[in-house]
């Protein structure tokens, strides 16, 4: 949009204009403080000793930096009866997220390719059914899924959680790829067919090379969703297979002993680091996924 602040209608003095500009920046700065404050408090709290937390205040910097809380959070904090910190659960999350992200992205790419480029009777119905599935509140599938995982022998296992994340991620991954491939002219597929290329050949040598941006968007979206998931994690895991979000919640809400806020904060930051890292490194794609995924879902 054109720069509204230098329009002919604003005939105020240049001093007024500068004041307006300053006001604008101050407001933006205050809002930035609002968004940064919790992160700042988390980081500073995690480096304080419990003693200092009890006597100091929320926003003061630690007088003495200590990594004790981080050490405890990573490998010593109690999640109920076990006291191994978040480390094993962090790796659970990695073990769940990587296969689930790759599988759901791959299947979504193939689905999107079919729906967008190989239209047949029923393909649109399939897409509508899929799209609808993106919107259901997952509570409505929790009970039967718990039974189904039991029947499949996957109850409380990491493969079970991978399975659940792949199934309920398909709606979005299909949507992402379908919307991307739909803008690729159908003539391309037709010409390739005339030249004798088959379904997979066309996908592999024409569509995949064009897909890098949407693959990145989809992987980031799925990774964020799956890493941050709590509902499936808490419903379908057991003591040794919980993802990091569930472990974090257990650490924070374990009632034994004194409340170690510094450990809670360090554990929270550890749980948040992977998605924060992705956001900082690939923010552009993250935002694109959010807006694409959210305009429908």
């Amino acid at each position: 949009m054109a720069d509204m602040s230098y329009t002919p209608t604003q005939t105020g003095s240049s001093a007024g204009k500068i004041a307006l500009r300053w006001g604008l920046y101050i407001m933006l700065g205050l809002f930035a403080l609002f968004y940064l404050m919790p992160l700042f408090v988390m980081v500073t709290t995690s480096f304080k000793s419990l003693e200092e937390i009890r006597t100091g205040d929320l926003i003061s910097l630690p007088r003495e930096f200590t990594f004790d809380a981080w050490q405890t959070a990573w490998s010593g904090a109690c999640t109920g009866i076990q006291c191994e910190g978040v480390r094993p659960y962090f790796w659970n999350s990695v073990l769940i997220a990587i296969p689930a992200v790759l599988l759901s992205t791959l299947i979504g790419a193939l689905n999107g390719y079919v729906v967008a480029q190989w239209r047949f009777k029923g393909a649109n119905l399939f897409f509508a059914l899929m799209l609808f599935g993106c919107f259901i509140p997952f509570q409505v599938v929790l009970l039967p899924m718990a039974r189904m995982l039991g029947l499949m022998g996957l109850a409380g296992t990491i493969p079970g959680l991978i399975f659940v994340h792949v199934i309920y991620g398909l709606g979005f991954t299909t949507l992402f790829f379908r919307n991307y491939y739909v803008s690729i002219p159908a003539e391309l597929t037709k010409a390739a067919k005339v030249d004798g290329a088959g379904f997979f050949r066309i996908f592999w040598s024409i569509f995949l090379p064009l897909s890098l941006p949407i693959i990145v968007v989809t992987i980031i979206w799925q990774f964020t969703q799956i890493w941050n998931d709590f509902l499936f994690g808490v419903s379908f895991s057991q003591a040794g297979t919980q993802p990091v979000t569930v472990a974090l919640n257990n650490i924070v809400n374990s009632t034994t002993g004194i409340k170690a806020y510094n450990v809670d904060m360090a554990a929270a930051i550890i749980a948040a680091l992977p998605t924060l890292f992705v956001y900082v490194v690939a923010g552009k794609y993250f935002v694109r996924g959010l807006t694409a995924g959210s305009v429908k879902g």
Binding site: M4, P38, L58, I107, N111, L170, T174, F230, M265, G297
Partner: protein, 290 residues
């Protein structure tokens, strides 16, 4: 045979996903709907027995709190996040030199798990050592901010944390919307001497109506699904004061062993989602086909 295979490859590729969606989405919804009409308790029973679970649900004070909390929370969350998001987007749209950095700051909470957000705000809002103690330490001895432990106010702490998490995202949606408004019209209005605020209220904001709708759909969807945030921030407490349908459903399913109640509350959640989303999807799909 190979010819048949070749012709039907697309269908075969789609088939597993199709079957999966039929079973794991629609079949499961049907299962839950069916069980919500039975007397299931600890174990599911399959004899239909009318709307007894829904009667129990709507005569339960705990559900009553959860269901009305959904509307209090949902309304405040959606309205404030949209207003805040719009204000931020307009402020950021004034040729701000550091726009990229500021946008990154406003949006990062969206990358966090709700459990992390809840944990952080739980610490900040705890009256003993958090914000209240800090402000008192600055010399305001009578400052009180005990919403987190006050049953009448606790739901508003969920609103605060949810807004903190999601308003930057609404800002991003609106900012994209502002940038897509036709600059020719805006320039013409400026040439005609129409004041900036009028340009916004009369031209730009009305042109963004579809974005308001999208933002509303997303936020209401987030509100109905809110589960993690409540669990991490208040645990549904004090008492049941901050229960939402999602936490009610979970409690019935996994700690109370009341499958009938879990199923019926899940169905009500789905109906609320459908009431919002079906008209939207219908109009979207129609406008795309037409």
């Amino acid at each position: 045979m190979t010819k048949w295979l070749e012709e039907n490859t697309p269908k075969l590729v789609l088939a597993p996903s199709f079957v999966a969606v039929l079973i794991f989405v629609y079949g499961f919804i049907a299962w839950t709907a069916w069980v919500s009409l039975t007397r299931s308790r600890l174990l599911p029973k399959y004899e239909i027995d009318g709307f007894i679970q829904y009667d129990r649900l709507f005569s339960s004070p705990r559900w009553d709190t959860a269901f009305s909390n959904l509307f209090v929370f949902g309304f405040l969350f959606i309205v404030i996040a949209m207003v805040l998001g719009l204000i931020l987007a307009i402020l950021l749209d004034q040729n701000i030199r550091t726009e990229g950095a500021i946008r990154t700051i406003y949006l990062y909470p969206m990358a966090l798990s709700m459990i992390v957000t809840g944990t952080a705000w739980k610490w900040i809002l705890n009256p003993g050592l958090g914000l209240e103690a800090t402000v008192r330490g600055w010399g305001f001895e009578n400052f009180t901010f005990d919403w987190l432990v006050n049953p009448d106010m606790a739901i508003y702490t969920v609103v605060i944390a949810a807004i903190w998490q999601s308003s930057g995202f609404v800002m991003a949606l609106f900012l994209a919307g502002l940038r897509s408004v036709d600059t020719e019209i805006i320039r013409a209005a400026q040439v005609d001497g129409i004041p900036t605020w009028r340009v916004y209220t009369a031209i730009i904001i009305p042109a963004m109506a579809p974005i308001f709708l999208s933002a509303f759909i997303v936020l209401s969807h987030l509100a109905i699904k809110s589960f993690d945030l409540v669990i991490a921030l208040t645990g549904g407490g004090p008492g049941y004061a901050t229960d939402l349908p999602a936490t009610y459903m979970y409690a019935m399913a996994f700690s109370r062993g009341d499958i009938g109640q879990a199923a019926s509350s899940a169905m009500i959640m789905m109906l609320v989602v459908f009431a919002i989303i079906v008209p939207y999807l219908y109009s979207e799909l129609r406008s795309k086909d037409g």
